[in-house]
């Protein structure tokens, strides 16, 4: 931390001590060459001193500003808030701080960075120091540090982290949740439903004859179908439903606070919507259908994986019965699949 007092304290005098005058000259030059703004106020918050950094970063003329109230010289600072803050410095004789993370800037100074930032003004860390003269705090020194770089890189970093967080949850092709995130969500929803004794249903679905589609029309056609089907299903869901790509052409939907009949109804709607939706690929009409298995959480499951097993076996049954249909797990007679 910058401590001008320490520079001029008598203890720092060496045997070849400088004269008071020389010391003052040195201190003035240091203050003027610092890349930090220095603004000194009296107890009425009038400006009594400022350094070159501030002079060159504002359009204000030195003669006009000395003696002016800080709130007149810098009308952009929030007066009531800053007065209260300055009061605390004078009354408690303690330093006070203001970080760019809470307030991007106090003073509207242009920054000198050739980088695109969100603000046209310099991001600032400000420190308010009580200055004692003759044992009484009569002045406040405001130090203004330019932290535009820090602010810029921190913002970039946060943006990248947010992007990474999204990428780690989303399936790149279909833009719905990937398997890992979906399964984590199921674990949470399962725990929630158990704790609060709420209903929970699950739909697993699989595209019929997807391998044939790929073989006949190519993988690009397959990709198109996966994207279209995902979008169609998404449009049929509520916001609280959690839709993910379980594997290749298999999808899964978590339905919180939904009982079996509601889940069956939705599964039927998905089944018929897809069967009646015309898809074309390079002038070929593509007929796509899906098979769906539905299960509801009952007292029998002791973990969320069992719920997946239940709906998976119902899906298997829908496939066995001729595809393009919905089957429901009969949990009264269900047995773990070997």
């Amino acid at each position: 931390m910058l401590d001008i007092n320490a520079l001029i304290s008598p203890e720092n005098k060496t045997p070849s001590a400088l004269s008071e005058q020389n010391l003052t000259q040195i201190n003035n030059q240091i203050a003027n060459q610092l890349n930090t703004g220095i603004l000194v106020l009296d107890a009425e918050y009038n400006i009594v001193m400022w350094n070159r950094f501030l002079q060159v970063h504002t359009d204000k003329v030195a003669n006009n500003i000395i003696g002016q109230s800080i709130f007149i010289a810098f009308p952009e600072v929030p007066e009531r808030w800053l007065s209260r803050k300055l009061d605390s410095v004078l009354q408690l004789n303690t330093p006070s701080f203001c970080s760019w993370q809470q307030r991007h800037h106090l003073f509207e100074l242009p920054h000198t960075r050739p980088i695109t930032t969100d603000s046209e003004f310099m991001a600032q860390n400000c420190t308010f120091l009580p200055i004692e003269t003759d044992g009484i705090v009569k002045n406040i020194c405001i130090l203004i540090e330019d932290v535009t770089d820090v602010c810029h890189y921190q913002t970039q970093l946060q943006k990248t982290l947010d992007e990474l967080a999204t990428i780690s949850r989303i399936d790149g092709l279909t833009q719905i949740y990937n398997r890992r995130h979906w399964q984590g969500s199921l674990e949470q929803e399962y725990a929630k439903a158990q704790r609060h004794d709420k209903r929970l249903s699950l739909i697993m679905l699989d595209l019929d004859y997807f391998k044939l589609l790929n073989d006949n029309y190519g993988h690009q056609c397959g990709d198109m179908v996966l994207i279209e089907v995902s979008a169609l299903i998404s449009s049929l869901l509520r916001v609280e439903d959690i839709f993910g790509r379980y594997g290749g052409e298999e999808f899964a939907i978590i339905l919180p606070e939904t009982e079996l009949s509601g889940a069956m109804e939705l599964a039927q709607r998905i089944c018929s919507s897809i069967a009646t939706k015309p898809l074309t690929y390079k002038d070929h009409k593509i007929k796509v259908t899906v098979s769906l298995g539905v299960a509801q959480l009952s007292a029998e499951e002791s973990n969320y994986e069992m719920l997946i097993t239940q709906s998976d076996s119902a899906l298997y049954q829908a496939k066995a019965q001729g595809r393009n249909q919905v089957c429901c797990a009969d949990f009264s007679t269900s047995k773990p699949i070997d």
Binding site: R84, S88, L92, T94, S96, F97, S99, Q101, T127
Partner: protein, 202 residues
């Protein structure tokens, strides 16, 4: 018991110094806040690194931790952590004399922490003929998961921490927080020397 632990006399002496410092600090605060502040005698305990981790991780509803470094002469330095619980932070803007829309809750917490830490440590430093400088206070991100991580990544290794429980009662609202002073090993030796000096003079 190792060389960093305080003797009973040293502990008593420190407790007394902190009581006086806290008393004077709260007097100053009452003037600044312009309201009657009732302060309970702060409970102070010195805790070792392992115990502190356990106490802090047991606390539920930890809303925020504010950290602020302090530096004095004779190698007295460390970091102050102010730990807030969710229920204690509703009316800090009121307490500080701000309008609620003038500053965010983060800024309120940072402000009150800085005032408590610096007012207290300034008086404490004066008691032992010292003077403190301070880092800007900062809010630790995601305290719920990261507090123990932060404690392990301190810029110094520390064996002893002073836990000061501050409890302010103000007529219209109550305010509670824990102040934890983490002190590096070398600074503990220095503090012990200062305490011994005071005890010898007494």
């Amino acid at each position: 018991m190792n060389e960093f632990h305080l003797t009973e006399d040293q502990q008593d002496c420190l407790q007394e110094l902190i009581n006086i410092a806290m008393g004077q600090a709260s007097d100053q605060l009452a003037r600044y806040l312009n309201t009657f502040v009732y302060l309970k005698v702060p409970s102070i305990e010195s805790v070792d690194a392992k115990n502190l981790m356990e106490t802090l991780s047991q606390q539920k509803n930890t809303l925020a931790v504010i950290s602020q470094g302090f530096f004095g002469y004779e190698g007295i330095r460390g970091e102050a952590l102010l730990v807030y619980q969710e229920e204690d932070s509703g009316r800090i803007a009121d307490l500080l004399g701000y309008e609620p829309d003038e500053l965010s809750q983060d800024e309120q917490l940072i402000d009150i922490s800085s005032i408590l830490t610096t007012t207290f440590l300034n008086v404490f430093a004066r008691q032992i003929d010292n003077q403190m400088s301070y880092n800007a206070p900062k809010l630790l991100p995601n305290v719920k998961d990261k507090l123990s991580e932060h404690l392990q990544q301190m810029p110094f290794s520390w064996d002893l921490a002073l836990k000061v429980n501050i409890n302010y009662q103000v007529t219209d609202y109550s305010f509670n927080c824990n102040m934890v002073l983490l002190i590096p090993e070398t600074a503990i030796i220095n503090i012990k020397n200062v305490l011994d000096r005071i005890l010898a003079e007494f």
